[in-house]
């Protein structure tokens, strides 16, 4: 059933977050907070070279150091043949994942794991790393995506023959894959066009920037049973990957999800867990590992940097008739950038008859990319939304009017196949036009930019259980790590269905041995898919509660109604019984048939795509090139906000990360291919004082496939900021900034060049 038209008492309110007190008092146990007696400290030796053949590794001196109890290299991990991973977000090959976790033949980027030690103290472990003698044959390296595609560029993988081209290339290259998406006839489209704009854009790799570095504690017991404490976006993913990389049975591994300090996609794969288990197996002790921030930057995945061209053709009345995009994405050291979604998302906001998109997945000597909020979409949309703005300028049209004229609606067929259904983009644009920010005059010397974004959102596999305690309070358990407030929203949905206050419902994240399989927290899927499982499990519990009341009253279950947390006889014919509340039924559950609970597993479909529009006002200091964000408004269709404060927080957080991507975040490499800024001092995420209050505007066009109408919200808000800011800068100083980050030196240079 659904609750779309119901009178909701809990869903849509803003109760205090259930994890708040633990977090603000420092009691919440994150990955690095777990310790056990007798544990060892594990540390990883990382390659100082961007590209090098590993000639030999001599660990004997490290092994001889007092306090060192295990040393592992790639020899301690089984060789894995090429196999596409069966869980996780984004394409990942198990052979590559294994090689990424511990380099086998070559170091493919600076920071690539070469060996690991476990010792009684962290200091001894560090000293042992310095005693490992690795002989490298340093090879030429390549960082930049355009350079990596050139003939003659250093080739990372001798067996990489570009997929997606026919015939198969005769020589190996760094181009892992070519993808194309076509709709209509692009040549005919441009022939029809009266106005054409073109642009070339580049974006830098940016890190997810989660505050909590990767960490884990692993214990390999003598009987082969393994326990892992780690934060991640999916503890079932951690179990599967660890089992696969070590050749173990999943049943022998139990992963306990720790509180997570941010992931944003970056914790949808693993780095440390198989190493910690291998060290524990070898030493017989529990092994704790935690990355430093420097290791996070050098060794874990950012998202792709890219080089993108866009060409748009329109009629003089503003009808866009042709759209073409070429995208070249850095995948890092192994194949698997988000080139697919990148190709799909750029034009998904528009109804355009002729579309042609060509994408390249390109490896280079950088850490393997990991998912980052709406993987790929921010990159392609930055280019498209700048070009749409330029088109508006060339047409002499208001940029919002141009988007209103061409925007996708229900029934628009996308260039990648599906037809948009149940979308609320029209409503988002209406809310944008009606918003005071859009109507406000632009202050002298300021500029205003607008950009829109699209993300699919996903559903997928989720499990949930609901238990009624003896006193009528309620437990909800799911397999979804809580990264964006899901314990609050799950508890609220259960409370709504049961008709009880949310304070009576406690939601937890259950470990891999305690609940059915649940796909990781990613793709903006949890409120939708896990929320559906929780709602259905709660409905099953309600059915049982009604049955118990029926049994107590000795009337048919059909004659019982459930409302406001109580069972009522349905009308006078059913009998004149006083209502039985949840607590009363719970107290007697043992005598009326046993414990009341339900578990539901779903593979949820129909996630409901999300659209957003951002308005940004900037002030540019023409002498220093510094851009100040003066006002920022993010409008988004969220379906139904279960807990509006969390939804607003997701939107504000996404916008903040996008602002960093736009203005200040980048990896800086020296000529040896080593990262020069592996810390938050010189890898510049925005700080609080860099940002104005970001106003989140929630548009609610219910998603009919979810019981409460929810759609995913976590990914759309990082898509529009880069173009919104570039458009605002152009509005302020008349110059199009095509290259991210739009840092002060670049803007000052552009101003000087423009005279």
């Amino acid at each position: 059933m659904n609750y779309l038209s119901g009178d909701l008492k809990v869903v849509g309110t803003r109760p205090i977050r259930p994890d708040g007190v633990e977090k603000v008092t420092g009691r919440a146990l994150y990955s690095a907070d777990t310790r056990v007696g007798g544990m060892l400290w594990g540390k990883i030796l990382r390659s100082p070279h961007a590209h090098a053949r590993i000639v030999s590794i001599d660990t004997s001196k490290a092994e001889a150091l007092k306090g060192v109890q295990a040393v592992v290299t790639s020899k301690d991990f089984p060789e894995i043949t090429s196999e596409v991973a069966f869980v996780g977000e984004g394409p990942m090959n198990f052979r590559d994942l294994s090689d990424n976790v511990m380099a086998r033949n070559k170091a493919l980027y600076e920071g690539h794991a070469i060996a690991a030690v476990a010792a009684t103290t962290a200091e001894i472990a560090d000293a042992a790393l310095a005693l490992i003698d690795v002989q490298y044959e340093v090879l030429p390296h390549v960082i930049d995506v355009d350079e990596a595609m050139q003939p003659g560029a250093p080739v990372l993988h001798a067996d990489m023959f570009t997929a997606g081209v026919n015939p198969k290339p005769a020589t190996a290259s760094n181009i892992a894959k070519v993808v194309t998406f076509k709709k209509g006839d692009i040549d005919a489209g441009f022939a029809e066009a009266e106005v054409i704009v073109e642009g070339s854009y580049t974006t830098k790799p940016v890190h997810q920037g989660y505050i909590e570095p990767h960490a884990c504690l692993a214990t390999y017991n003598p009987d082969g049973q393994i326990s892992i404490h780690a934060s991640s976006q999916g503890h079932f993913m951690v179990r599967a990957y660890t089992a696969k990389l070590l050749g173990l049975d999943m049943a022998d591994i139990r992963v306990n999800p720790a509180e997570i300090g941010g992931g944003f996609g970056g914790k949808t794969l693993i780095y440390l867990e198989p190493v910690a288990v291998a060290l524990s197996r070898k030493s017989g002790k529990s092994v704790k590992m935690q990355m430093t921030r420097e290791e996070v930057f050098r060794g874990s995945g950012p998202t792709s940097g890219a080089s993108v061209t866009v060409k748009l053709g329109a009629k003089k009345d503003g009808t866009i008739v042709a759209a073409q995009q070429v995208l070249k994405f850095q995948a890092g050291a192994y194949a698997g950038s988000p080139i697919g979604p990148g190709c799909m998302c750029g034009f998904a906001m528009y109804d355009i008859p002729h579309i042609d998109v060509l994408g390249y997945d390109v490896v280079s000597n950088r850490p393997k990319v990991a998912a980052y909020r709406a993987p790929g979409a921010p990159i392609s949309s930055f280019a498209v939304e700048c070009a749409v703005d330029d088109l508006a300028a060339k047409l002499g049209m208001d940029p919002l009017t141009l988007r209103e004229k061409n925007h996708a609606v229900n029934g628009t067929k996308t260039h990648y196949g599906p037809t948009h259904t149940n979308i609320g983009f029209t409503e988002v644009l209406q809310a944008t036009r009606a918003h005071p920010h859009w109507k406000a005059p632009i202050a002298e010397g300021h500029g205003r930019g607008l950009a829109v974004g699209f993300w699919f959102n996903i559903g997928g596999e989720s499990s949930a259980t609901v238990h009624i305690n003896e006193d009528g309070t309620v437990m909800v358990a799911t397999g979804s790590p809580d990264i964006g407030g899901s314990r609050a929203s799950m508890g609220m949905m259960a409370a709504e269905v049961l008709g009880v206050p949310v304070s009576k419902v406690k939601a937890i994240v259950a470990d891999t041995a305690s609940i059915g399989f649940t796909f990781l927290t990613g793709g903006s899927r949890v409120t939708f898919a896990t929320g559906m499982a929780v709602t259905q499990a709660t409905e099953k519990v309600v059915e049982q509660l009604k049955a118990r009341a029926a049994q107590t009253w000795d009337i048919p279950v059909e004659a019982v109604e459930w409302k406001d947390g109580q069972a009522f006889p349905a009308g006078t014919n059913a009998g004149a019984f006083p209502p039985l509340d949840l607590a009363a039924i719970a107290l007697k559950q043992g005598r009326t048939g046993g414990p009341i609970n339900a578990e539901v597993s779903v593979n949820a479909q129909g996630a409901g795509a999300g659209f957003g529009a951002h308005i940004c006002d900037v002030k540019v200091d023409k002498e220093t090139g510094h851009v100040e964000i003066i006002r920022y408004t993010a409008i988004q269709d969220v379906g139904k906000a279960i807990h509006p404060s969390y939804v607003e927080g997701q939107i504000q957080g996404g916008a903040a990360q996008g602002i960093g991507w736009a203005l200040s975040e980048e990896y800086i490499y020296n000529d040896k291919g080593q990262m020069e800024n592996p810390g938050f001092l010189d890898y510049r995420c925005p700080v609080a004082s860099d940002l104005p209050m970001i106003e989140a505007v929630l548009v609610e066009v219910p998603n009919p496939r979810h019981p409460f109408g929810a759609r995913g919200v976590g990914e759309v808000p990082i898509i529009p900021p880069m173009a919104a800011i570039s458009n605002a800068i152009k509005s302020a100083i008349g110059i199009r900034m095509e290259h991210l980050p739009m840092s002060p030196p670049k803007i000052r240079a552009a101003i000087d060049a423009a005279g």
């Binding site: 800024n677 010189d682 000052r748 240079a749």
Partner: protein, 295 residues
């Protein structure tokens, strides 16, 4: 397997003896906001740390006939809260107020910022412009030297192994004197200067500059005291012509490198931009047109 001694002596003599007697690397600890981070990063493995904060005079501010004496280890936040310093040396105070975060300012000190000898240190250009005197103590006794004689290169100072800065002397201010400091960073806080500029001026009753000291940070291996900038100001009002000459003098004096924080070309331009802006603030303050914080 590694050992580290820590001592917190309560007299200058005891501290000097400890430093002089150390066989390995000994480091002086004031607030520790640089030292502890550098140790964690593995840049230093000292054998001995001598904490100066328990030595009388190292923390605190006293006024002597219009001059101020600021203990070398006095936390930035203490200086910022001092009404006399804020009135006489707003540029020095605003420079301290830019270091790190509020939490860091509860510990970081002028002596530490100067002796860490980073060309990008925020308080150092302001100290240079102020003409502050460092009171250095060591085995050979006490000496008073201009602050600009302390740093000799990135991370290097002219201090001997057994020397440290006990306190700083800020001279009494003539009428119509003030100072200012600005830095440029890509963000708004929690960052390292791409360029920093400190200027201290004295004006006559007509607004003509009679004395000036100017400095630039982050554009050379050490903070620079730039006489050419001061020469442009002395004898002039701050009109468009003077500002243009000051900009040119600053750009000429800057000898920056390109690194992860900015290109050389950009840093030169920003040196000129900041010099103009800082001079404007210092002149406005000296002439009584402006008071209080500028950032």
């Amino acid at each position: 397997m590694t050992s580290l001694s820590y001592a917190a002596p309560t007299s200058v003599d005891a501290a000097v003896k400890l430093l002089a007697g150390a066989s390995g690397l000994a480091k002086v600890l004031s607030g520790g906001t640089d030292l502890l981070i550098q140790m964690r990063a593995g840049r230093f493995k000292p054998e001995l740390i001598v904490d100066t904060k328990k030595i009388p005079g190292v923390i605190g501010i006293r006024e002597e006939n219009g001059a101020f004496v600021v203990g070398g280890g006095t936390p930035g936040a203490v200086v910022e809260a001092h009404a006399g310093m804020t009135k006489a040396w707003p540029g020095v105070v605003e420079a301290l107020d830019l270091i790190g975060s509020t939490q860091v300012q509860g510990r970081c000190s002028l002596a530490g910022n100067l002796c860490n000898a980073s060309p990008a240190a925020d308080s150092v250009p302001a100290l240079y412009a102020a003409g502050a005197i460092a009171v250095v103590v060591g085995s050979n006794g006490r000496r008073e030297v201009p602050v600009e004689s302390i740093p000799t290169g990135p991370g290097r100072t002219s201090l001997a192994k057994d020397e440290f800065i006990l306190e700083f002397k800020f001279p009494a201010r003539p009428a119509r004197s003030s100072d200012a400091y600005l830095r440029f960073i890509p963000r708004t806080e929690m960052d390292i200067a791409v360029v920093g500029c400190g200027i201290s001026v004295t004006l006559d009753a007509n607004g003509v500059c009679t004395a000036a000291r100017c400095s630039l940070g982050a554009v050379a291996p050490t903070v620079l005291l730039v006489k050419e900038m001061a020469d442009v100001l002395i004898g002039h009002k701050l009109d468009a012509d003077t500002l243009a000459k000051l900009d040119a003098a600053a750009q000429a004096a800057a000898k920056p490198i390109s690194d992860k924080r900015g290109t050389a070309e950009y840093r030169k331009k920003i040196s000129g931009v900041l010099a103009r802006r800082v001079a404007q603030i210092a002149f406005d303050r000296a002439s009584g047109k402006a008071t209080g914080k500028t950032h």
